[in-house]
Symmetry: C2
Subunit: 509 residues, 2 copies
């Protein structure tokens, strides 16, 4: 299969059905296909050859959708730029991948001169914004209007479809090479598990589309049928209004977004009954948040997808049924049909159920490798198994419990402490809105368990009270030795708490 | 992916869940896996090497299920024998494929001496029946009890998983070579379209398991999870009783079986409310039969799957929603997500919508080829497109209407007549229970449109009346010039009307 196959199928079966809705703009499948073929023709005219990388730096829109289809249609390779990155990081990823064509919207157009200065080989900039194209940039709409439609290059199977730079929360950015088969294996395995979609699906894109979490949903609906609705970015009120206005059936949120959505005042004024499915990922969800979400959205089922960019991205699924069992809410779910999942020790020996080791995953969805990093690829993929770098254990029923990033593990007084265990204990306290736990240097213990906490509005609690509270649930050596109260935790564009940043700044103190 | 992957997943996630029910025998996933590993060990001990063919000639049972898993587990290749074939035909298929190991049940054990005489290289016969093994045959249960479990050979992807001899309704038997990827592409694409299953699925096997229609359902539930219930063969009362007793949720029937099921006296005495999904295939369903079925089974949705062995087997699907539109009941549905479907002329040029040509299908589910028949493979698969040999057209919404086997087309007085058009007209008459239409030699017209009709009980109608009735719906030259009344139509094991046999005998008259 190949990424544009679903567009061909939509043209054959539902040419007049609305495929994209973006603000006041709606386009049918036939219209999208015509624009995609023309944009692909324009890219070929601009010199894009089979396998060339074409980047996009933009908020969500229908043009992002067209880009995702037109680049493979032209034979090119996607490079979805992380919108939270600095110009230096973006220039690095463009240079590393040898990307010479960049699509950019109004929000990020001002960054282009800096990018060009840092990376002079960036020859072609295409402006996808609403206003006139800035100097030195081509107009997206003019290109589409002027170009002849290209025939679909029909690259597929094991051909490279995209280089996806990992979020930068760990180590130096790496380009994850994914094939058409990679993305579609994850899509079909996930959909076949019970999250099937079709012409009636109405998917809202509010999480950033550059991230594999939202891209997985995009791939599913593009492959199986349905309508895409785009918001430039997440806002609680915008999301609620879009669900109500467009009778949205499905969306992908990260837990932080779920919390903001359900906590906004006036939520009950919106008709959200069309929303039958929320998929969440990128991190686990605290039990109290999920319980409030299930109460606020009684018509909605919740599914957790666990994975990573290198897994295209889904490895395990926590089903709607699983969400009825409170003790499973800490789990990331069980192996999806397309994935083999096991827990291994440092020698790659499978561990007994219940023992913590590294989560390893095998299947047709494991990335082709890291862009021009054969050694890092060989270190990550051994005997076909992608080593996730996540520590976890598996219970007797195959549920995977992610304990922590292996490198986030805190060693204090010779004892291993997994941050998630401490965070789960802290999160139970009614005064704690959100929290994260890291290791910081300590003269006595080597590392000290350090908690960074956001309190709920008007709540008051001391560090000693929280420490004592945690000891009700976890061993004394695991409870935080220091607690810091902040107004907000730093999060990545994908909603992940930036532990590395916290760790760096706290260690420097 | 590979065929036994779902068994490994079941052992990891639901080891204690019942996987098979056969008469009074129930086995959990862990028990099945243990038996499969031992049977695979026994097959290896008997000399089965990677890629060797192992056949089964048996009615449906849990042992058929174990065979389907143990042969690929051992590295071997499946050869599912058509139970309706003569000994000569079976010996041909064993010899053609070089199969030296045969599993046989009590029903077919008596055929073994004849098979051995016709094909002396049949060295190993394994008896899967309930009684003692006949002389010269090994006991299936003794083999499992005595063998050490083998490790899964984990052949998968493009490796050959089975040689499936086509039904013999057209031409000489050919072995269709299917890979693991072939079967699983069809499975995941079909499941992702909305027929998702999982641990709660309870699938009843009543159609013969050697046929790809039932095997496709088997592959889906084995890959995605669920419980298999086996009846040796279809009977209307047995099927109704099994649905009620085992709270069956899904089954695969051919239209003939649907008709027999709903027409049996006392159907209302069974609680069939658990049956949420019936998939039917192998032939279209007359509208009156479907309407009666929908009335008799109000809790059941109906899905038609169209395809063929060479397509592993699904190409198009007529969804439950589609069944609400009467004019779509004549359609075979639309391309499944994994399949490209088009209508081509003899030069392989795609035809405009509405024009009749050959139905061609492309995708990862297209067979590897015919066993040792490179010329027939090259004739059938051109530029990746499997040419089905079925004539059909596609409407503006992508629905495929199968008009006839291309070679079944009748040419009468220089006009092309597609049998299905005539059959559809005849089937509307209230006195017609079932019918088929063939061309027979005629001194005036070259071929004559000839109808073979089964009347409903106590109905009386003349040939002239039927001919006049048809002319209400179709052109005069398409209406049958001769009509023959019979008690029953000859059907294959898969429920297809044996037109070739009718044509041969009628032409000889």
């Amino acid at each position: 299969m190949w990424l544009t196959q679903g567009l061909h199928r939509a043209v054959q079966q539902t040419p007049g059905t609305v495929m994209t809705i973006c603000g006041k703009r709606t386009r049918t499948a036939a219209e999208v296909a015509d624009r995609v073929a023309r944009l692909a023709g324009a890219l070929r005219d601009l010199g894009v050859q089979d396998g060339d990388r074409v980047a996009m730096l933009a908020l969500n829109s229908d043009r992002y959708h067209e880009y995702l289809l037109a680049v493979p249609w032209a034979g090119g390779v996607l490079n979805l730029v992380n919108i939270r990155w600095s110009a230096a990081e973006i220039a690095y990823s463009l240079e590393d991948s040898g990307t010479t064509v960049l699509l950019v919207d109004d929000t990020f157009a001002a960054m282009v001169p800096t990018l060009r200065a840092a990376y002079p080989k960036l020859t072609t900039v295409i402006h996808t914004g609403e206003g006139p194209a800035p100097e030195g940039a081509l107009s997206y709409e003019d290109l589409i209007a002027d170009a002849s439609p290209a025939a679909d290059a029909r690259r597929g199977g094991d051909d490279l479809v995209g280089v996806f730079y990992t979020g930068g929360t760990t180590g130096f950015p790496k380009g994850v090479k994914l094939s058409h088969t990679n993305l579609i294996a994850s899509t079909l395995g996930t959909a076949a598990s019970g999250y099937a979609c079709g012409p009636g699906t109405r998917l809202l894109h509010v999480a950033p589309m550059f991230h594999l979490a939202d891209l997985a949903m995009w791939t599913m609906v593009t492959t199986l049928g349905g309508t895409h609705v785009f918001l430039p970015a997440f806002t609680p009120a915008g999301t609620a209004a879009a669900i109500a206005e467009h009778r949205i059936t499905s969306t992908l949120l990260v837990p932080t977004m779920i919390q903001l959505l359900i906590d906004q005042p006036g939520l009950a004024d919106y008709d959200l009954t069309s929303l039958t499915s929320v998929v969440y990922g990128a991190s686990g969800i605290p039990q109290p948040v999920l319980e409030r979400a299930m109460a606020a959205l009684p018509d909605t089922s919740f599914t957790q997808a666990y994975g990573m960019t290198e897994l295209s991205p889904v490895a395990t699924l926590l089903s709607p049924d699983d969400h009825q069992t409170p003790e499973l809410l800490r789990s990331a779910g069980r192996a999806a049909p397309h994935a083999e999942v096991r827990i291994v020790d440092v020698d790659d020996t499978e561990l007994p159920r219940g023992e913590v080791g590294e989560i390893a995953v095998r299947g047709a969805h494991v990335m082709l490798g890291y862009w021009e990093k054969p050694e890092e690829t060989a270190a990550a993929i051994r005997d076909g198994w992608m080593h996730t770098g996540d520590a976890g254990y598996m219970d007797a029923a195959g549920y995977v419990f992610v304990v922590d990033r292996i490198k986030d593990m805190i060693i204090t007084g010779g004892e291993n402490v997994y941050s998630a265990e401490v965070e789960n204990a802290l999160a139970r306290h009614p005064a704690v809105a959100s929290c994260t736990v890291i290791g910081v240097p300590d003269p006595d213990w080597g590392e000290r368990v350090h908690a960074v906490v956001v309190l709920t509005p008007d709540a008051q609690v001391t560090a000693d009270e929280l420490r004592a509270y945690c000891k009700e649930f976890i061993a004394g050596y695991k409870s935080p030795r220091s607690v810091e109260f902040v107004d907000a935790l730093p999060v990545s564009g994908a909603g992940k708490i930036l532990k590395r940043e916290l760790r760096r700044t706290r260690r420097a103190q």
